[in-house]
């Protein structure tokens, strides 16, 4: 635009996108600008000049005039008819001055080149997304400092629509970029006074509300003609380089639950076993008790029965019992009987070991070891 011819480029020395001048706004911006208009006029002149010499070469001049008028009408019609897309409204200009009101979607006509038209996508919901990983933006657009000097990795979207096409077109420049920088600045401001933990977890709703409020106020101050529908925090995570440490916390929580479950398992097992063992001990004791009592009863009954008979014939029975016992005892064992006085004066040789086994007993308590006695 005019500025470029004198200034030599806009002021975007930083190599950032197009300036507010020099290029028509992008996206849903105006479709034609005065510069286009001038170019078209020039083109028309050129065409006319080219056409005249052809007319000089003595053709039917009436035909030439008809052709000229026809071409002019064609150009007027071609540039005059325009269509407003269903999501847009049009604003008509008379010699660059905007006419009040908006043109609704549909096919319309302006008396070009006196009148021109620009369309604004005022019925569309626009989405500005900030902090997308794939956006190719440098990382620090996503990383935001919190009030406790932690860093969160944010991604959020702003949904907005144009409520006043006149304000939108005539008050602000680089509209979409403006929304983007205001939104980022507002988000950083709100995040900057919130704790990292809160931003990441419970505070998202509050952050969204505060940011929306802040953006709206700022845009209203600029008379931007923009109304925000919503601000949505899509992502509020710890930055990638510490993500592992944050996941470690999750893993630790899992571990904690696992430890406790394992302990419960152990406890259940241990208590079950102990209960069983306790029951076993009790039953065994009861069994013992039952057994010894029964045995005692049996033995005593037996004794009493024998005693009853014994009482009837004490001596005989006593003798019999003794002899029977001795019979049993001696019947099964080896015996050595030594006559009193036999081998007196000499020490009888008694090879006890040779008598198989070392067990030597002497009933009656009397030592019967040879003649040493008496």
């Amino acid at each position: 635009m005019p500025w470029n011819s004198q200034g030599g480029g806009g002021w975007q020395s930083g190599g950032d996108g197009g300036g507010p001048w020099g290029r028509p706004p992008r996206g849903g911006g105006p479709k034609s600008t005065p510069s286009d208009l001038e170019q078209l006029l020039k083109k028309g002149q050129d065409r006319l000049k080219n056409f005249i010499p052809g007319g000089n070469s003595r053709g039917g001049s009436a035909g030439i005039w008809t052709a000229i008028v026809g071409v002019i009408f064609a150009i007027l019609a071609w540039n005059g008819f325009y269509r407003v897309q269903p999501d847009s409204v049009g604003i008509e200009f008379l010699f660059g001055k905007a006419e009040p009101g908006e043109v609704q979607p549909g096919l319309h006509y302006v008396f070009w080149p006196v009148e021109t038209v620009e369309t604004v996508p005022a019925l569309r919901q626009n989405e500005t997304r900030i902090g997308t990983i794939t956006s190719g933006q440098q990382d620090n657009e996503r990383l935001m400092l919190t009030s406790d000097q932690n860093i969160v990795d944010m991604e959020f979207t702003v949904l907005w629509r144009i409520t006043n096409p006149h304000d939108y077109l005539f008050n602000i420049s680089e509209q979409e970029k403006l929304v983007r920088v205001i939104a980022e600045s507002a988000m950083r401001e709100v995040v900057g006074r919130t704790k990292g933990e809160v931003v990441r977890t419970t505070g998202r709703g509050d952050v969204q509300d505060a940011v929306k409020q802040l953006i709206q106020t700022t845009l209203d101050n600029y008379g931007a003609g923009i109304q925000l529908a919503s601000v949505n925090v899509e992502r509020a995570d710890p930055p990638e380089s510490v993500a592992d440490a944050f996941e470690e916390v999750q893993r630790a929580k899992q571990d904690q639950a696992k430890f406790i479950e394992q302990a419960k398992k152990y406890a259940n097992h241990r208590l079950g076993e102990a209960g069983g063992k306790a029951a076993q001990i009790r039953e065994q004791a009861e069994a013992y008790k039952g057994r010894v009592i029964a045995e005692a009863q049996g033995a005593s009954q037996r004794f009493l029965k024998v005693y009853e008979q014994y009482k009837k014939a004490e001596n005989v029975t006593r003798k019999r019992l003794f002899l029977e016992t001795m019979e049993d005892v001696f019947g099964q064992s080896k015996k050595v009987v030594i006559e009193e006085g036999a081998g007196s004066g000499v020490v009888p040789y008694l090879p006890l070991n040779a008598l198989k086994g070392g067990q030597v007993s002497s009933p009656g308590g009397k030592v019967s070891n040879g003649s040493a006695s008496k």
């Binding site: 680089e174 980022e184 430890f259 241990r270 004791a285 005593s300 009933p363």
Partner: protein
């Protein structure tokens, strides 16, 4: 003749069209214009629409009326405790005085921007330099933006620019500080993780120990009850025997002895060395076969 005439008319028309075009200019709704003749500003035009000028001599300088902004990235500032940060700002402005704008900076926005940025950097440094980082980051941010805007305003006015406001966008840590911040965040999380695990271990050990205690108590109680039961049994046994044997302690001793002999001297590996005059051999000698009276 006629063709000659018609080409003359055509030429005249063309000249008139070109002249008319050069004598008019259109000011867009978004613009103001200055009419400049030989480098001198003749007049300024605020109203959009069709305007006239001297053909071929007057030039038109168009100036944007809209809100304009520029970003200033990564300006290094130092806060009160000496730590350094990178700051991004956005300066919102309008060209308020087109004449002055043309006179001082040749209506050149990049030139104007360079002038403003020098001033802006100074204002940023001054404002951050008297605050702590926490204050700059959060509670005094708005006030800072206001103050920076105020400091910028007079020098902007001199070049015909009205500063609408200056917004601080980013306040970033320097790369090495960023790394140490990451390290600290990691360390904090790892500590938290360990704490969680420690709680888990503690609870786990507690549960196990409680289970062990209950198990030991269960078994011990069972043992106690068992011993009591066995004692009951033994006591009962004793009393049963005592009741029976008390009828004749002498016979009991006799019977029990016999039983003990039988049991103790069982087996064929026992060797008895006996005297023939023991009671068992009462009749073993010949003399006493016939009972003596």
């Amino acid at each position: 003749m006629k063709t000659w005439l018609s080409s003359l008319v055509l030429t005249l028309v063309a000249v008139m069209v070109i002249g008319a075009y050069s004598a008019t200019f259109i000011v867009d709704q978004r613009e103001k214009a200055l009419v400049v003749r030989f480098g001198k500003i003749q007049r300024d035009v605020d109203e959009p629409g069709l305007h006239f000028k001297m053909p071929f001599i007057d030039q038109v300088v168009r100036i944007d009326k809209r809100l304009l902004f520029f970003e200033s990235k990564d300006k290094s500032v130092q806060v009160v405790d000496g730590r350094r940060y990178l700051v991004d700002t956005i300066t919102m402005l309008r060209i308020a005085d087109a004449r002055r704008f043309r006179e001082t900076v040749e209506a050149n926005l990049s030139l104007a921007r360079r002038r403003l940025e020098t001033r802006l950097e100074a204002a940023l440094r001054a404002n951050y330099g008297k605050r702590t980082f926490d204050a700059a980051l959060s509670e005094e941010r708005e006030q800072m933006m206001r103050e920076i805007g105020d400091e910028l305003r007079p020098s902007a006015r001199k070049i015909g620019i009205e500063i609408v406001d200056v917004r601080i966008r980013r306040t970033d840590l320097l790369p090495d500080v960023l790394q140490s911040t990451y390290d600290r965040m990691s360390a904090e999380r790892l500590a938290e993780a360990e704490q969680i695990r420690a709680v888990g271990t503690k609870q786990s050990l507690t549960i196990k120990a409680q289970a062990d205690r209950k198990a030991v108590i269960l078994e011990s109680e069972a043992n106690r009850d068992g011993q009591i039961a066995r004692g009951d049994g033994d006591a009962k046994r004793s009393s049963i025997f005592a009741d029976a044997y008390n009828k004749s302690p002498e016979f009991f001793a006799f019977m029990r002895s016999l039983q003990a002999y039988r049991k103790a001297l069982k087996g064929d590996d026992t060797t008895f060395v006996l005297r023939p005059d023991s009671e068992f051999f009462n009749y073993f000698g010949s003399s006493s076969v016939i009972p003596q009276k």
